[in-house]
Amino acid sequence: MSNVQSCYQCGKCTSICPMRRVSKTSPRSSIYNANVYGLETQDIWTCLTCGLCPQECLQQVDFLSFIREERQGKQPLSIAHLGVFTELAELSSRLNGNIAAKSGDSKIGFFPGCVDSLDLFLHDVKTNFGEITTSSVKLLDKLGMKPQVLNMKCCGHDVLWQGKKDVFDGLKAYNKKYIKESGIDTLVTSCAECYRTFSKDYDLGIKVVHTSQLWDKLGLKINQDVTYHDPCRLGRHMGEYDAPRKALTANGVTLKEMEHSKEKALCCGVSNFMNCNEQTKALRIARMNEAEATGAKTLITTCSKCLAHFNCLKSEKDAVKKYNFDVVDLSVFLAKQLEAGK
């Protein structure tokens, strides 16, 4: 149970809320309405669950749990891409499916997440999501790690945050069984959302690692300037700000920070494939403008959703603005450098 009753309506949350920069949303009033009158507001769907307000909340109101509970069993206002990814997760949760044969005896398991589905349905963002997987495996190999590649179902992150806990539970039960039978003791994932979900929503009892936490040992010598965008799931949700930065600087990269970074980072504007609209587009523009201001040639991130949404803005038919830098996943960036012999 979330502790909304602790809220004393100071409104700090609303004033710092990224969505408030672009809409009339108010976390404060949604807490108030729910807590005081048991009313629900549309604002529970406007929230990006970025995690900024609970971090800053003086009363330590667990706004994320509040949102998640409020959403359970209700129909989301709008899911982008016609809800195809949700449909896939729902369908997959209903298929019995046998546990696939183990792909080796390694104690390390690597889970690529949903990059294949992204490649299947997101053509217009001109991004090769599958490359995140191939790059990660290459880099793991460079570190001498030979993982089993886990052919699991969706981790369930999106459906959980969309208020479909029953679907999430179905996926979770399957995946837990899968992980148990695979015999691994470390689960490596290249996705910030998977990382959060397996770490916080799964109680696996094994080590969960995000790939960015491994790459500082690669020993590359990269002479480039980049800037780094903290995904909410890796950053504020999991508190991991340093590992991806170290993965860059330890390999020779010069990191140019944006105006808002680490705990204060701005959003990509879309989480769990909800809230694709002109308000959140404004957030993407704001974030991309910050990245542009650093003068770096590359914007690195560690979440495939951030990657998709920034590249979506860049790939628009008649783009709002031409951004002269690439938006690249951390592992893809490093693997390219490795291949280039750096």
Binding site: D124, C276, L283, A286, S315, E316, K317
Partner: protein
């Protein structure tokens, strides 16, 4: 003058001509002698070179023809004679007795099922049998049974009578007689097609052997609707063959049996059939024995190359003289391998690639009506007037004019329609009538759904428990009325549906019967007549989806029928009335390019009564024809041009702007706004339709065969000019395929062989002592052009074949060629070397950007569909003709130009543009302006406009999308692709589809994956 046209022949040519004429405001009679329209195309499995399913692209045209209010279909009818004169013809038509009343038959097929007598099936090329009372194929139009009187037991022996007994609607009528009617029409279009050559007259090819079959029979074997459901088997023992041979030119290029012509299509259909057979069974060995492979059309050469490279189909340049039937009836062919000698090879199945003979009806009609035929038995025409017969007001199209493939046929069909429409333009719209409907009634707020479940005779009722489905429907939310019907489509049922709507105050209607493809318009019309918006109707297909495919599982079929009805009911509850909008249009056209194609298109449009502007980049009209000095029929291009330009300049509907260029275009079908730059000034030009006729240019073969270095090496185009002045050279060597059919430029130039042969003849005629050599890879003088090739050889022109990997070499005063037949290098003394180069695309990139119309990989314009829409673009209102689409001969360019004009006139002749009702709409507030919709739309319907978004602290300028209803076809691509869910495909909204799926989902008990298949228990 009468505002009506008779189209004789209901194959693809007749269908296209009829549709164009009907769309342009003329009452059109389509007369077909077989029970169904569709012609030979309906028998084809696939079409080259895209391997599109023939029936899948033809069938919508059949349906469109049947539905068209301005077309009167006279199937199973013969034209006896045509008399009268242009504007006022009398056409005598015999409606053959079907012994079935067309007005009563519902096509349910009960009679066919019970009929005890069988007849050879013409549709399956005689390889299977159908009943004596039959519907020729599943998609037949009209879908009416016909009795084969020669085999019907009742009609021949007076016994049986079963069909009459089982016929629910009492349509069988043994007393029916042939009836003769006379049509009074303004013009006639002959589209009588061809007759497949009967190979039994060539005794040496042993067509009597069961495993020697015709290419049309092989086509039926490949077809899923054929006698073996698409499995290629031998007729002798039903086994699968291993080695298959195709023998080309059976009944073509054969003067011995008076078939001098090339049939134009056999090389490609043999290639297509081979590819499909290999796709069915990769183990097959297929060999095609040919003389020349004539892969001359757009993408044909690429198709031919793929057949060899990807499918391993073997092409042997040799003509087996006979089919040898040995011991145990085994088949073999003896042929000359040009490098190793004579070879005998065994085959299990031999396919004779039969040619296209003129139809008997063509000859009979020509004789009875005084229409001239050419040397080959085709309706005679000329290069400048390829669709005009010797009788004014009678036009011709398709194979009746000469062998040709489907796109050329379709183009000619539209061309013939253009000519007939121009002749009768003063009478446009006089003989067609518009439907009047009552006002739409006020809808009550809650859905009151009527469900009508059809037995379809026994088609549905014998499998699906129809009363059970009705009972079930009554329990569904929103259903106010449900009943069963014997034939929902019969006319008394329409009255019953209207009655039920009125009595029960229904505001949504669901009919559970057959396919919406054929029947939705009927029921929508019925709803409309009852005062309901047609978009409040939904069809649940429980015949194709239930009773037909699950005939053995009656209970589960019934369950599925309930599920489908449930989905339709759930979906229909959300339906809202939708309206077509009427948008005004500009009844003027522009033509880009003032060559022969452009001028012809402009003249046709002008003669149809519409104003047209020709925009020509050069100082003078004429295009490439200005560079030519003789046509292959001996006429002087200068004379032809003079006459054509005279007509253009003398036509008050045509405005020519020379040295001009189209700078800008915006707008859509019916309402384009253009800016033209001419004389340094920009002028605004508004138009409703545009024809792109920008032509092509000759390839300059720099660096090839010493061209540019040696003054004795010229191109065929330059040589053409030299011949106009007279030349002194005695030893002339032509090299074909220069810069074509190679890696860099894969396509065949199409016109180069005809040009070379024409010029070779000119030299020989001027100086019979001259030595003329033509070095070639395949001589592609297709169709009736074969006579030029014959003529050239008669005159002593020498043709030497060379191989692509060992091309000739030009050295000083001679050409060195490796003679393939002799396997020797030959040196030909040559004081002039002529290089035949292909036409290449002109500067098409600018226009392609202006109109957003696509180019193919060779930078020619890409038509909407390679078979059935050869002069259309996917974007409405813009049309294409001539060599801008691909290289073509002058008569072909002219046919296409008239076709483009005809297509443009189907728009210009409208009083207004009517939009689709079910179009997509954008919710501006949700749109994020990403432009995905613009990218995915094939019709250029969405466009972006600037909006300033002000969201609290952030302000930015972005695009928003809007969809132009006049261009939108309601396909829903944009709605599916929109990441923000801002677009709704009306009538197919996510909500409507979602409700339908959810309704079904409620009945799903379990779902699992078993052996890779998803298993669902309902």
């Amino acid at each position: 003058m009468k505002g009506s046209v008779a189209v004789v022949g209901g194959g693809i040519a007749g269908i296209q001509a009829a549709l164009d004429l009907a769309d342009s405001g003329f009452k059109t009679y389509l007369i077909e002698s077989r029970p169904s329209i569709g012609g030979v195309m309906s028998q084809l499995d696939k079409t080259f070179p895209t391997n599109d399913c023939a029936m899948c692209i033809l069938s919508p045209k059949l349906v469109e023809t049947a539905r068209h209010p301005n077309i009167e279909l006279l199937a199973y009818s013969d034209v006896k004679s045509i008399s009268g004169k242009a504007g006022d013809f009398k056409v005598k038509v015999v409606k053959k007795a079907r012994y079935v009343d067309e007005t009563k038959c519902t096509g349910c097929g009960s009679c066919t099922e019970k009929c005890p007598s069988k007849v050879q099936d013409e549709y399956n090329a005689g390889m299977s049998k159908h009943k004596s009372i039959y519907i020729p194929f599943a998609q037949a139009i009209p879908r009416i049974a016909t009795i084969d009187a020669a085999h019907c037991l009742y009609l021949t022996k007076g016994k049986c009578g079963v069909c009459k007994k089982v016929c629910g609607p009492k349509a069988v009528d043994y007393e029916q007689k042939d009836t003769e009617i006379e049509l009074n029409v303004g013009s006639v279009v002959l589209a009588t097609g061809f007759k497949p050559f009967d190979p039994s007259i060539l005794k040496n090819y042993r067509f009597d052997h069961p495993d020697v079959i015709t290419s049309l029979q092989f086509e039926r074997l490949l077809s899923a609707s054929g006698p073996t459901q698409g499995h290629v088997t031998k007729q002798s023992d039903g086994k699968v063959p291993k080695n298959i041979a195709f023998i080309q030119c059976v009944g073509s290029r054969n003067p011995h049996i008076d078939r001098k012509h090339c049939s134009s299509v056999c090389c490609m259909y043999a290639t297509k059939e081979s590819i499909i057979a290999k796709e069915h069974d990769p183990e097959l060995n297929i060999t095609i024995f040919h003389i020349d492979i004539r892969a001359y059309g757009k993408n044909f050469e690429e198709f031919y190359n793929r057949a060899q490279r990807e499918y391993g189909i073997k092409y042997i340049n040799s003509r087996p003289p006979e089919v040898i039937v040995g011991a145990n009836n085994a088949l073999s062919l003896k042929y000359e391998d040009f490098s190793t000698g004579v070879v005998t090879q065994d085959f299990d199945l031999i396919v004779l690639s039969i040619g296209l003979d003129p139809a008997d009806s063509t000859r009979a009609l020509a004789q009875s009506s005084g229409i001239a035929l050419d040397d080959f038995g085709n309706i005679a025409t000329s290069i400048e007037s390829p669709v005009e017969s010797s009788v004014a007001g009678i036009y011709v199209c398709g194979v009746a004019q000469g062998p040709k493939d489907i796109p050329d046929t379709v183009a000619q069909a539209s061309a013939a329609a253009s000519k007939a429409a121009a002749l009768l333009s003063g009478e446009r719209g006089t003989l067609i009538k518009e439907r009047k409907f009552p006002d739409e009634k006020q809808l009550s707020p809650l859905p009151r759904i009527g469900v009508f479940v059809c037995h379809c005779g026994i088609n549905i009722g014998s499998v699906v428990n129809v009363p059970g489905v009705v009972e079930y429907a009554r329990t569904l939310p929103g259903v106010a009325h449900a009943r069963e019907m014997l034939y929902a489509c019969s006319s008394d049922s329409q009255a019953a549906i209207k009655d039920a709507i009125a009595k029960n105050d229904l505001n949504r209607v669901v009919v559970a019967s057959c396919t919406p493809r054929t029947h939705e318009p009927l029921f929508q019309n019925t709803c409309r007549e009852a005062g309901l918006n047609p978009y409040l109707f939904e069809l649940a297909n429980i015949r194709e989806h239930c009773s037909w495919v699950h005939s053995k599982e009656k209970e589960r079929a019934t369950e599925k029928a309930k599920g489908i009805v449930q989905m339709a009911v759930a979906k229909s509850a959300l339906f809202q009335p939708l309206y077509k909008q009427q948008v005004s249009l500009i009844n003027k056209a522009i033509v880009l390019g003032g060559g022969v194609a452009g001028m012809t298109a402009a003249l046709d449009i002008a003669n149809n009564g519409y104003h047209v502007t020709i925009i020509e980049k050069e100082k003078e009209l004429g295009g490439m024809l200005r560079e030519m000095t003789e046509l292959y029929d001996g006429k002087k291009p200068a004379d032809v041009l003079k006459e054509l330009i005279g007509k253009v300049n003398g036509n008050k509907n045509i405005n020519v702007i020379n040295e001009a260029k189209l700078l800008k275009v915006e707008g859509y079908l019916g309402n384009f706004k253009g800016v033209v730059l001419a004389n340094g000034k920009e002028l605004a030009l508004d138009f409703g339709a545009a024809v792109v006729a920008t032509g092509a240019r000759n390839l300059e073969p720099s660096g090839l065969f010493n061209y540019g270095k040696d003054p004795h090496v010229v191109t065929q185009a330059q040589f053409e000019k030299m011949l106009g002045k007279g030349i002194s050279a005695n030893n002339i060597t032509m090299i074909q395929c220069v810069g074509a059919r190679n890696k860099e430029r894969e396509y065949c130039g199409r016109t180069c062989c005809v040009d070379a042969v024409k010029n070779a003849i000119r030299i020989k005629k001027a100086n019979s002592k001259a030595n003329v050599f033509v070095l070639y890879r395949d001589m592609r003088t297709y169709g009736v052009m074969e006579k030029l090739y014959e003529n050239a050889r008669d005159l002593g022109v020498i043709f030497i074949k060379y191989e692509a990997d060992n091309p000739p070499k030009v050295q000083g005063g001679s050409v060195l060629v490796h003679d393939h037949m002799l396997n020797q290098d030959i040196e030909l003394a040559s004081d002039l070397v002529v290089l035949s180069t292909p036409l290449v695309a002109g500067e098409n990139e600018e226009i392609n950007q202006l109109f957003k119309i696509p180019l193919d990989r060779n930078k020619f314009f890409l038509e909407a569909h390679p078979k059935l829409r050869p002069v259309d673009f996917a974007t409405d209102g813009i049309f294409l003709c001539g060599s801008a689409q691909a290289p073509k001969l002058m008569d072909e360019a002219i046919s296409q130009a008239s076709a483009a004009a005809s297509r443009a006139c189907t728009i210009l002749s409208r009083k207004f543009i009517e939009t689709e009702g079910a179009v997509s709409v954008v919710n501006e507030a949700k749109c994020i302006g990403c432009g995905t919709c613009v990218t995915v739309c094939p019709y250029n319907a969405p466009s972006l406009y600037d909006v300033t978004v002000n969201v609290e602290e952030v302000t930015y300028t972005t695009n928003k999308s809007k969809i132009n209803a006049a261009s939108c076809k309601g396909c829903g691509s944009c709605a599916a692709a929109c990441p923000a869910g801002a677009i709704t495909a009306q009538h197919f909204s996510s909500k409507e589809i979602g409700e339908a799926i959810d309704a079904f989902d409620k009945g799903v008990k379990s779902i699992s994956i078993e052996k890779g298949f998803v298993e669902m228990t309902v």
